[in-house]
Symmetry: C3
Subunit: 100 residues, 3 copies
């Protein structure tokens, strides 16, 4: 079965940002997402005083172009003031038209 390589973009953010980030993902072209409740400690040390910070992990599979737009948007609008990370990885999917 032929596979297509798309991008899995993962955002880990404070839970208060969830709705805003989901709206942005849609506006930037994502057609679906998966949410996971997570906790953690970030490199900025923002949560250093709370051992278990409540975060949300948002994952979406998108085209490389949309991935780039999402990463740029998150870095520009959130990195300075929030404990947020964003990263991308190539993933092989079948039926790539489900995602783009």
């Amino acid at each position: 079965m032929p596979t297509v390589t798309l991008k899995l973009v993962t955002i880990v953010a404070e839970r208060v940002l969830q709705e805003r980030l989901l709206r942005t993902l849609k506006e930037l072209g994502a057609r679906g997402y998966t949410l996971t409740d997570v906790s953690g400690e970030g490199s900025r040390g923002v949560r250093a005083s709370e051992w278990e910070g409540h975060n949300v992990k948002i994952e979406t599979i998108v085209s490389p172009e949309v991935a780039e737009r999402i990463i740029e948007h998150v870095a520009e609008h959130y990195f300075q003031h929030y404990a947020v990370i964003v990263y991308a990885q190539p993933v092989e999917v079948v039926r790539g038209d489900k995602y783009v």
Copy 2:
């Protein structure tokens, strides 16, 4: 320490499919799996009316051959009638014999 490259296969599906998918994974050659409770919205829009659909994420590390079998099986048997996605990524592991 020498590493081996295997495949991480991820399935995100409606929770009602969990037991059936786990049985299938074993039959197709997977020797372990990790389950995570997740929610989300899919590209098919199946869950458009439920903001938070309860899904399960199933992850398994397998050989490239088993990965291909799992992806084909899921696409053939589930894509038409269920909100399911499946994707594969290369991962580096040590002690590859734990997985295959």
Copy 3:
């Protein structure tokens, strides 16, 4: 926006090991981590009698050197006596200085 390729290291372990593993990650150079409650069955069959073993997934983004140290440490100190897996994947990030 320029991206840097780092390593996403994932450890899935019995929950009792969580604090010990987090201390070790910091000692080996990780500057942040994400925790997810998961369940699963492992290739060693350790959890064969418990259908849903309570595990924790620990994810951290680090330099390739730190990734190698973490993987070696986990394999050497945990593989023999615990149901633990560890794997690494390349990830593209922006602002790589957040992580290393």
